[in-house]
């Protein structure tokens, strides 16, 4: 492009245009994602098995009347699950982005990497050994379990994109019989587990969120700080090192962020598969390869997908609900197949 001096200004102008175009596109993406988030939050408050007029929903939020059925439904049921969906969705979106960035693997997410099963095992052990059944009690176990699983997966599957998914499958396969053993021993653990393992936004209330939000905030901040490093890491360890990055530090911080975020999401909503996988792909489509933007959009699209799944689950069945985890898997599986069929994976 720079062969003749005369061509340089034209090239520069084209470059400037491309930059402006990209900036417009990114701004648009942020606006669309924000609008989608606002819409789905409103839908989550307004829609459900019980028909409540939007005006009544607004009154419930601004001037609640005690004992009025409609207001109680909004405040005690829809508001908590919306908040849980927001926090867990943000955490999953960011966790998925960090995992995919640090492993350079388009197939990575907390579920596929076995972190969810680690958290599950710790939770059933908490019920079995210590009789802990309150979410506030077992959140610490969920964190511990996710961290242990993450440690195994990352140390065995280091650096090999395709292999990480398999190591995750192997760790899940190792943990599943252990969970089964606990479930066979302990009726209480079994009953808690079978509702918990579906993944749902109900069941954990605002009090759990009040305990957990600091972890999510630390995780999100860490993820935001790491985003730029992840962009460089995408070029390969050698390039990132040459650009002055300590790759080992990035990996260590990233695993801390992953454990905090995935731990928060899993203890709030149960093991929700595929949200953390799909969201970064959608974000990448919208804003390109810069992880600062992918992270930002991912943090918006995570709750959009999770709350959409939750709202759809309320509306699909008459008189009954489909849990958010099931709907999210139904939405996410086709995307995973599409990614696997894409050209990038075969080359990996």
């Amino acid at each position: 492009m720079l062969t003749s001096p005369a061509a340089a200004p034209a090239a520069r102008r084209e470059g400037a245009q491309a930059v402006a175009h990209r900036a417009r596109r990114r701004a648009l993406a942020v606006l669309v994602a924000l609008a989608a988030l606002v819409l789905v939050v409103l839908a989550s408050l307004a829609l459900g098995v019980r028909d409540i007029a939007p005006a009544e929903v607004w009154r419930a939020l601004t001037a609640p009347v005690d004992g009025l059925m409609d207001h109680d439904v909004v405040l005690d049921q829809r508001l908590p699950r919306t908040v849980v969906g927001l926090v867990a969705g943000i955490a999953l979106g960011c966790a998925g982005t960090v995992i995919q960035g640090v492993t350079r693997n388009p197939i990575a997410d907390p579920g596929l990497l076995g972190l969810n099963s680690g958290a599950s095992l710790a939770v059933v052990c908490a019920v079995w050994l210590f009789g802990i059944t309150s979410p506030i009690g077992y959140v610490w176990f969920a964190f511990l379990g996710a961290a242990a699983a993450a440690a195994i997966v990352f140390s065995v599957g280091r650096g090999q994109p395709v292999r990480l998914a398999l190591v995750g499958a192997a760790v899940t396969a190792l943990i599943t019989p252990l969970i089964t053993l606990v479930l066979l021993r302990d009726q209480q653990a079994f009953n808690l587990y079978r509702f918990w393992s579906v993944g749902s936004l109900t069941g954990r209330g605002l009090d759990t969120v009040a305990w957990l939000w600091p972890f999510a905030v630390v995780g999100v901040v860490l993820a935001a700080v790491l985003a730029h490093r992840l962009t460089m890491l995408a070029l390969g360890d050698d390039v990132a090192t040459a650009l002055g990055q300590r790759v080992g530090t990035t990996r260590a911080l990233a695993s801390v962020a992953i454990v905090l975020l995935a731990g928060t999401a899993t203890s709030l909503a149960g093991p929700i598969a595929l949200v953390g996988l799909v969201v970064p792909h959608a974000a990448r489509r919208l804003v390109g390869t810069d992880y600062r933007w992918i992270m930002g959009i991912g943090a918006l699209l995570g709750p959009v997908m999770l709350l959409t799944a939750d709202v759809l689950g309320r509306l699909v069945l008459p008189r009954s609900e489909l849990e958010a985890g099931v709907v999210a898997a139904l939405l996410g599986a086709p995307v995973l197949v599409a990614v696997a069929r894409g050209r990038t994976v075969a080359g990996a």
Binding site: I107, A173, P177, T180, A273, G332, A340, V345
Partner: protein, 341 residues
């Protein structure tokens, strides 16, 4: 002349080693089977057990042996052999030591089929096995169709399989949450894999099916050696590569579907048995017979361990094989990484 004798010697040595491995594993099966026959809530002397097997002796002993213990042993052997053989076929055809129905999502498909049969249709026994068989077939077909893009790329095959496995297990979790407690417990046991309830007509059906499939595999077995040398070499040796591969995979899927439909997905036998057999036989071939016998030995041993509450509770066979197999898979993954670097 000397070269010819050396080749002949090598062949004899190979065959002898294969025979040795197979015979060794058969001995393991017999020993574990004898143990399973003698040990249990009702302790039997060897004399009583033998009398029970042939149908003589105390009616109580005959009942324990013929109705409770023998079917369970036979089921473990048949199911284990089918998984072992299927795993060997998958691994040699896809040329990937990690290819197994657990990872490819076929087992989860069978589970989803069985859960549907159990909870929605209220089935049991042979009819339940039929729904599981259908589930495995549908998922295998879906993986096939979705992973097919200008040929069958094995990484794509695995990833699509993983995706479908997640979809199926999410639906299983949902139906467990929706069902009654005792139904959910039945689902849990089924999805882990258990050989304790296969008897009578069902056992006969599974054994007969496995036998037919084994004969078919034997007919195809001659292509396995050349195929393991790579497509081009196999073609040069006169093998119809694509036909052989499709045929082998179909047989492997049928074996897995058959075994899974009876016992549920017994984790990792299909992965681990061929790996052990190949290492023991060590001739670079697919070690089909040895894999089948090793699978039978592993499953029977695991069932004895699980049944007698070595782990604290009486555990289905799948729990034991999972606890043994998953660490092995992790070790395999860790060491292949080192070798490739």
């Amino acid at each position: 002349m000397t070269l010819l004798t050396t080749v002949a010697d090598l062949r004899t040595a190979r065959r002898r080693r294969q025979l040795l491995v197979v015979a060794g594993m058969v001995l393991v099966v017999l020993a574990a089977g004898t143990g399973a026959l003698l040990v249990g809530a009702a302790g039997l002397t060897p004399g009583q057990a033998v009398a029970g097997v042939v149908g003589l002796g105390e009616p109580g002993d005959v009942f324990v042996v013929q109705r409770l213990r023998l079917p369970r042993i036979e089921a473990a052997v048949v199911v284990g052999a089918a998984f072992g053989l299927a795993g060997a076929l998958f691994q040699s055809t896809l040329r990937n030591p990690l290819a197994s129905p657990d990872i490819l999502g076929i087992s989860t498909g069978a589970s989803l089929g069985a859960v549907t049969g159990m909870l929605v249709l209220g089935l049991s026994g042979v009819a339940l096995s039929a729904t599981a068989f259908t589930g495995a077939g549908v998922v295998a077909l879906a993986i096939w169709l979705l992973a097919w893009r200008k040929g069958l790329h094995s990484i794509r095959f695995v990833l699509v399989g993983v995706g479908l496995a997640y979809l199926c297990s999410s639906l299983i979790a949902w139906s467990m949450a929706r069902s009654q407690e005792h139904e959910a417990a039945a689902v849990l046991t089924w999805t882990v894999g258990s050989v304790s309830d296969i008897r009578g007509e069902q056992l006969t059906l599974v054994a007969a099916g496995a036998l037919v499939l084994c004969v078919a595999v034997a007919a195809l077995a001659r292509t396995q050696g050349p195929l393991s040398l790579g497509d081009d070499n196999a073609r040069a040796l006169g093998v119809h590569v694509d036909a052989a591969r499709v045929g082998t995979l179909l047989l492997a899927v049928a074996l897995v579907a058959l075994a899974t439909s009876a016992s549920g997905p017994v984790a990792f036998v299909a992965l681990v048995a061929p790996a052990i057999a190949r290492r023991l036989v060590n001739d670079g071939g697919a070690a089909l017979t040895a894999s089948a016998v090793t699978g039978a030995a592993l499953t029977l041993l695991a069932d004895v361990v699980g049944q007698h509450a070595v782990l604290g509770v009486p555990a289905p066979v799948g729990v034991v094989t999972g606890l043994v197999g998953a660490p092995y898979l992790l070790w395999l993954l860790a060491t292949t990484e080192k070798r490739s670097r």
